[in-house]
Amino acid sequence: MPSPDAAGTAPATRQEHAAVEVRDVEHVYGRGSEAVAALGPISLDVPAGAFLVLVGPSGCGKSTLLRLIAGFEEPTSGSVRTAGAVPVPGKGAGVVFQQPRLFPWKTVGGNVELALRYAGVPRAERPRRVAGLLDRVGLHDVAGRRVWQISGGQQQRVAIARALAGDDPLLLLDEPFAALDALTRERLQEDLRRVSAETGRTSVFVTHSVDEAVFLGSRVVVLTRRPGRVALDIDVDLPRTGPDPDELRALPAYASLRAEIGHAVRAAA
């Protein structure tokens, strides 16, 4: 749910559009006999403040859909709108990739600082904001480190801090924890859940993990195998804040959602 003050300050025009609108989108890679239909036709509306998780077997086009929403690619047919406009990279959405994609010539703090610079934050304000952003993703005393001096999990935290720097209304995450070990992944999931509840921004999260989908999502969409279509669209009615992660996972509702989504994913594959 969006926080009350966010809803109060949002301009009236914003409310006419969902945060993300996907209309009859199809996407084809290549041409002629080489052409591969990756996605669609698919239609989706993501209301502001939702945490949508796209889950499905590998190659189902879920990353493609995210890239379309980020504006990195244009759909072959149909239309994608974010906040009512054609998405443009760097405008209105922070993106976290599977690999951290940090700039090795910058320090950890320098990476976040660069994002603030692009977002138009005045130079004098940046150091404080860098510290605040790193703090928000659970990093302390690493701003001066080199990127290769911190662990993979920490690098991905920096990538999240960097994506949050622009204060964009939309956060797009493409299997950000897939390359991490199980323990680190769980920690980051818990922290992302907390951060998303705190910031209340709309998120679209791509994963192939059913557990991750149920744990993070306020809504889960299961895609069929290529070309990806909606196989299941389900609201996750679990508390967004409150119980600690272990309690949450122990809830009966959690287990039944997990079973239902898991079944849909297996059927789709």
Binding site: G94, F97, W105, L114, A115, A119, R146, W148, G166
Partner: protein, 291 residues
């Protein structure tokens, strides 16, 4: 006795890097390995000197192979004022070397700047790459002496043609390295920058160029090397003062010991400059090999 972390070259790095360096020598600490390497080099140098001395003694023709001693004497002679003569041809050895180094420095600096600019354009604009690539390769394979004649006709026999020669010689390696690195800029990082709101120019300045820096630096080291090997060619005409001019004059008068001395001076100063460039690389591109 010593911990890897206390080692100077590894001071700015993480512990794994230090131990990786040490892994080359399973027997001892990295410092011991460094001493051993230094020892091996000194020993090799000593062996070389002995062989040289033996060869000189065996041939007994100082115009053919001067002895180490004769070269040493020339080092002293050319570095001092003796019998009212200053060094060699009126200039001390360091002055010859200094003039040549100045030419190398200016020539390769101009070549690096021009090569960098050309390389960036070649790496970003496809049709310019198509046009410029064969031209750059054409110039790169030309021996400097071949186009020096043309430069002499155009620019006379003073400093200008020499600097042009070194600039033209230094440009291609930098242009080629820069173009290939810019062209192969990591797509993932460019995309990440765009997702953060980087403009086209931001992407070039903040991602493409930094990511190309390691390769550009290799190009610069090559360029300085090429400028070095071209300076003797540049100084074949009106080259005194200049180490190449000195060598050429000495060759004319069959002063083989001076020729050898000149070669040593060029080689040793070249090693030093390359070492400086390598240190600069460690200092300015610490992420090399880690991205």
């Amino acid at each position: 006795m010593t911990s890897p972390a206390s080692l100077r070259p590894d001071a700015g790095r993480s512990a794994p890097a230090a131990s990786a360096e040490g892994s080359g020598s399973p027997a001892g600490s990295p410092r011991a390995a460094r001493y051993r390497r230094f020892g091996v080099r000194v020993l090799a140098l000593a062996v070389l000197l002995v062989l040289w001395q033996l060869l000189a003694a065996a041939t007994r023709n100082p115009s053919f192979i001067p002895s180490p001693r004769a070269v040493w004497d020339q080092l002293v002679l050319t570095s001092t004022v003796h019998d009212g003569t200053r060094g060699y041809s009126g200039h001390l050895l360091v002055e010859h070397l200094g003039v040549s180094l100045r030419r190398i420095l200016i020539g390769s600096a101009l070549g690096v700047v021009a090569g960098l600019a050309l390389g960036v354009i070649m790496g970003t604009v496809p049709w310019i790459r198509v046009v410029a690539e064969p031209v750059v390769t054409f110039v790169r394979v030309l021996p400097p002496l071949a186009y020096f004649s043309l430069l002499i006709i155009w620019f006379g026999i003073d400093e200008t043609p020499k600097l042009w020669l070194l600039t033209i010689a230094a440009l291609p390696p930098v242009a080629v390295a820069t173009a290939s690195a810019v062209y192969a800029a990591p797509v993932g990082l460019v995309e990440a920058a765009r997702a953060l709101g980087a403009t086209r120019w931001n992407v070039v300045g903040d991602v493409v160029l930094p990511s190309a820096l390691p390769e550009i630096f290799t190009g610069v080291r090559l360029a300085v090397g090429v400028a070095y090997s071209s300076v003797v060619a540049a100084e074949t005409i009106n080259g005194v003062p200049g180490i190449g001019g000195m060598v050429r004059d000495a060759q004319r008068y069959l002063q083989t010991d001076v020729v050898v001395l000149g070669l040593l001076a060029i080689g040793v100063s070249g090693l030093l400059i390359d070492a400086v460039l390598r240190l600069a690389e460690l200092r300015f591109i610490p992420w090399r090999g880690r991205a």
